[in-house]
Subunit: 307 residues, 2 copies
């Protein structure tokens, strides 16, 4: 069987991820109805599933037969990502009332339930990593424990949570601890806030598929470039896009005086920086002989996307 | 060497837990200073360390040499408990400004940083379970993965998060989804909100110490009784106590119209119910031949404590 096209792979992966998320998310009466509803509202809010795609593409590049065993990790990472969006949207954080064209969770259920739904997804992600795929095989058990550590470190204070805290300080929302970001610290902030979980997405896929340390390291560097490009392009789209195509209020970053790549470097240089990330990502894949798969095409999609 | 007294055991365990928490919690520059500070503010706020004591006492009852290997799990559970207190205290939840006689975290750092510090402790707990004790021994690796699942399930939507959501509904804070608790559903709410993590505390100690399924099951039942007693006594102390001895505003539950054991059953019957839990907890230990340790004395302390 020949390789699927990128679109075929992404469509298959997205359908499998959505079906698996539906299976994995709790239902009443094992969990209270309001928490189940709220968690599902945000998980099935039309996200791009970028991180799980990266997990599945990384596992696929290492071992084409690893798809099934990588699916729980892909879903767990999407649960972590979704929880972070719910908490970031809260009035105490970015105060967003609209995401992907729909009211944010706290607008619908109130701040308390939104905090709890985020917390529920957070815990569920780790329970899922521990539970699936069900096995007593010590090799797979060791890999699963390694995923817990990768995701825990990426989501925690040195990663995503730390990045969001710096972002909050830079936005002037922590009056006792103000902070001004320059080009270097903007990159460091994003490396934590979005970069860490994107790197973990690729490393988890490679790890569960049985990659060795060198390959996991190469996928880490690839994902670092892709993550940086993803953020630069997000910032560019926020300037160039309109509310209809990106599903949130365009220009919001500028209005909130948040530092962005276009604001610091200009649009032309920002575009060029994203292309440089793409070139480095491709080179990393080539050096590690990881070109038989969809990772290069995914990096290209990240940089060239229009929404 | 004979057995330590309960006080000797608790003092030794508390000192080791506090020292380990200090080692485990991140410091700058690996994590941003504000998040490190905020996490430490709440972790070192003078908590009783009841859950980690239960973990260590359970591991000790199974294998007296298991103390060191149970310490990370004990600390991880305390991190989960601390994160839940931070989030529960938020204005969007219970809106508490004082805990253990000190301003709550969001009063000091703002709601945004408080949410993030809670999230950071939550992720760090799982990273810690995966990381420590460091080992390649497949038996211990499998036990560690089992702890991740126990804690993930206990903290998640079917456990702690679900219980807090029901509590929020019962307090009238989710106008779209109101709920009135009777005696049965009050117990079910507490079984999730505090019971699940207390049961996980004991089961994790037993699991990491290598207990078999029967012993883990007995410690689960023991901890279920202890957890219920803990909640009943908390409710009693809220009525009988004063702000000085319990470090929060006494009578707050009644003022907020929260359902409590004394409100539903009266004080005398509530006291009797706590004693019945103690009797059942002791019987469970006796039946499982787990009397050589501190678990019975801990159950007694839970029921007889005055603060």
């Amino acid at each position: 069987m020949g390789r699927e096209s990128l679109d075929e792979f992404l469509n298959r992966a997205r359908a499998q991820v959505d079906a698996a998320l539906d299976r994995y998310l709790p239902r009443p009466p094992s969990s209270p109805a309001i928490v189940c509803e709220a968690m599902r509202y945000s998980v099935f809010a039309g996200g791009k599933r970028f991180r799980p795609m990266l997990t599945l593409a990384a596992s696929d590049a290492v071992d084409r037969k690893a798809f099934e065993s990588a699916l729980p990790a892909a879903c767990a990472i999407e649960l972590i990502h979704t929880y972070s969006l719910i908490h970031d949207d809260l009035p105490a954080m970015d105060d967003d009332t609209l995401r992907r064209g729909r009211p944010t969770l706290h607008v619908v259920y109130g701040d308390g339930i939104a905090i709890l739904a985020g917390d529920g997804l957070h815990a569920e992600a780790f329970a899922l990593l521990a539970r699936d795929p069900a096995t007593d095989d010590p090799v797979v058990v060791a890999r699963k424990l390694r995923l817990v550590q990768l995701v825990g470190d990426a989501a925690g204070p040195s990663g995503m949570v730390g990045g969001q805290a710096i972002d909050l300080q830079a936005a002037g929302q922590v009056p006792s601890h103000p902070l001004t970001l320059d080009a270097g610290s903007l990159r460091a902030m994003h490396a934590r806030k979005t970069g860490a979980l994107i790197r973990a997405s690729a490393m988890c896929g490679a790890t569960i598929a049985g990659a060795d340390t060198a390959v996991i390291g190469a996928l880490d560097r690839y994902a670092e470039e892709v993550g940086l490009a993803f953020q630069i392009v997000d910032d560019i789209l926020d300037v160039e896009g309109d509310a209809a195509s990106i599903g949130k209020t365009a220009g919001k970053d500028a209005a909130g005086a948040k530092p962005t790549y276009p604001a610091l470097f200009g649009l032309d240089r920002s575009h060029a920086m994203a292309e440089e990330c793409l070139a480095r990502a491709r080179q990393t894949l080539a050096d590690a002989k990881l070109t038989d798969g969809h990772l290069a095409a995914i990096a290209e999609w990240v940089v060239r996307r229009k929404s």
